[in-house]
């Protein structure tokens, strides 16, 4: 598939640095995130890709001693997600996240998906029913759970739990969806289902996905960024990165000579 013109921007990191205490984990990152596209972040363990992803929804603010420098601009309103005047809760209301290990709450399937809506003060039964159904359908798990919405989420299989977590994130119509190695705890079949879902979801939401698996990046993403030791080494269309990377380090990683 050829991408014609440059699509519109959804977000853009500008001179982003990040510190865990004294330790500089991200070094001057500049990268665009295009609207309604899938951008994959790849790189060896400890290269900072998860750290970078978690900057988008200010997850680092939950822990003391973390510090950002630079900006992540979010469009169309051109808000700086890292701005001191921007409430992290507002950021997280606009940007959803799916974690590495499925983390459903020990509550019913319904309550897991409805949680984001409840947090926003929605308590109308009809609205909740509609939105939960819509989100579960969006996460391609509706048919499997529609008859047992009041059962505990922990009774689901790992792959189902992860799709439930995707539904939880989708229920509140996020503008950007962050995936932090969403399939690393899943078997190949469940992984395939999630990848297919990611492909489907990009019609309605922008996706940023961290993956350890290069084949996965090649399969699901439109753009790929290669990170190494906290630096953004190369960013480009996925086809170009995988077929003819410009940087030697990217090439080494992709061809399996490193990492």
């Amino acid at each position: 598939m050829q991408i014609q013109d440059t699509p519109s921007l959804k977000a853009e990191a500008r001179n982003l640095n990040f510190f865990y205490g004294e330790n500089k984990a991200l070094k001057n990152i500049n990268m665009p995130v295009y609207d309604k596209k899938v951008t994959a972040l790849i790189g060896p363990s400890g290269c900072g890709k998860s750290t970078y992803l978690r900057s988008f929804n200010r997850m680092h603010d939950l822990y003391p001693g973390n510090r950002y420098e630079g900006e992540i601009r979010f469009f169309p309103d051109n808000t700086n997600l890292l701005g001191a005047d921007v409430d992290p809760i507002e950021v997280r209301m606009r940007i959803g996240m799916v974690f590495q290990k499925p983390n459903p709450f020990p509550k019913s399937i319904f309550e897991n998906v409805a949680y984001g809506l409840r947090v926003r003060g929605e308590n109308n039964k009809r609205t909740l029913d509609d939105k939960v159904e819509h989100a579960l359908k969006g996460a391609a798990i509706w048919d499997e759970v529609k008859d047992r919405l009041s059962e505990l989420a922990s009774n689901l299989s790992g792959g189902q739990q992860q799709r439930l977590c995707i539904a939880r994130a989708l229920a509140t119509d996020p503008e950007l969806l962050l995936f932090d190695e969403p399939t690393s705890a899943l078997d190949p079949i469940a992984t395939g289902a999630i990848e297919e879902l990611v492909h489907e979801l990009k019609k309605r939401v922008t996706i940023l996905i961290v993956t350890h698996n290069m084949q996965q990046a090649a399969r699901v993403s439109d753009y790929t960024a290669y990170m190494f030791l906290g630096e953004m080494i190369e960013f480009g269309k996925t086809d170009e990165i995988f077929i003819k990377p410009k940087d030697k380090r990217t090439e080494d990683y992709i061809t399996g000579r490193m990492g």
């Binding site: 997850m59 003391p64 020990p106």
Partner: protein
């Protein structure tokens, strides 16, 4: 080094297994010792007190005659004091624990507070009694009442509840907290929908262990002046009180009282050996109260944990 022959390997294993068995035997012996002691204690009280286990014993007030003396005012007093203790200590302790785990910044002030909570747990209970005598009984004018006793014991078990709450909260994985925050929840929403419900089994266990400790406390209650001989119950709300008045909803809270351990202590210090029978019987009742509280704690914990899996 030369590789071991099969024979040598077997010898090494046999030696190791011998030590294994020695330790196992020691462990069983220690465990049995503890069990024998508690069973002996209970059996002793049951046997000594057996002739007092009648309904009258539970529904009679104290008396000069051992055979007619009962524990009515004592067990009612214990229950009421426990009620006040729980009402005061649970909200305070849970809120304090929640604050320390979820809200407090990790700085030296928090650290000093944490160390002092641990220290509070080690303060001898008589010291709490002295503190309460000065503050609750005289300064606040609560008198030698159920309220004073309940608040004193609440202070005593506050550290237990705080520590139990914190441990219960700490056992909730970070990914649950992150999952909640990631959809845009505030800290309080995360606490209300997740942290508190998931920590509840652990908190309840702590609360009941604390109460079980409080119900057996004698020293601080003596210090604040519980009566040892009392032949009336605290006024029941909205019933006729003396001089034609009606008791208010909270009048009982200011009533003089006695509690189980004080009743037992009183009986053991009487010269008439007949009272020893009363003391043994009351001791068994108190023991049964504590054990049933622990049983409730175990049941609740089991029941609530069933649905909480990560």
């Amino acid at each position: 080094m030369k590789p071991l022959t099969t024979e040598e390997i077997r010898l090494v294993i046999a030696k190791g297994k011998f030590r294994d068995n020695v330790f196992k035997a020691t462990g069983i012996f220690c465990l049995a010792l503890a069990l024998v002691v508690i069973v002996a204690l209970i059996a002793d009280m049951v046997i000594k007190g057996s002739e007092r286990f009648t309904l009258d014993f539970f529904f009679n007030f104290a008396s000069r005659r051992a055979t007619q003396a009962g524990i009515l005012s004592a067990w009612v007093g214990s229950l009421l004091v426990m009620f006040v203790t729980a009402m005061a200590a649970v909200p305070l302790g849970v809120a304090a624990g929640l604050y320390l785990e979820e809200y407090a910044k990790r700085n030296w002030i928090t650290h000093v507070i944490e160390i002092n909570i641990t220290n509070l747990a080690a303060v001898p209970s008589i010291v709490y009694g002295l503190l309460a005598l000065g503050i609750f009984v005289y300064q606040f004018g609560f008198g030698q009442s159920i309220l004073s006793a309940g608040l004193t014991l609440a202070l005593l078990i506050l550290p237990i509840i705080i520590v139990a709450t914190r441990e219960a909260i700490r056992s909730i994985p970070a990914m649950i907290r992150e999952g909640s925050m990631a959809v845009g929840a505030t800290r309080w929403q995360t606490c209300r929908y997740h942290i508190i419900p998931y920590a509840m089994p652990g908190i309840l266990t702590g609360v009941i262990i604390g109460l079980a400790r409080a119900i057996g406390e004698t020293a601080p209650i003596i210090t604040i002046g519980a009566l040892t001989f009392i032949a009336f119950l605290p006024p029941v709300p909205f019933t006729a009180a003396d001089a034609g008045t009606t008791a208010g909803l909270f009048d009982w809270i200011f009533s003089p009282f006695t509690v189980m351990p004080i009743q037992i202590f009183n009986w053991t210090s009487r010269p008439d050996p007949q009272f020893e029978i009363n003391a043994a019987a009351a001791g068994f009742v108190l023991m049964a109260m504590v054990l049933s509280m622990n049983a409730v704690a175990i049941y609740l914990r089991y029941k609530m944990r069933k649905n909480i899996k990560w």
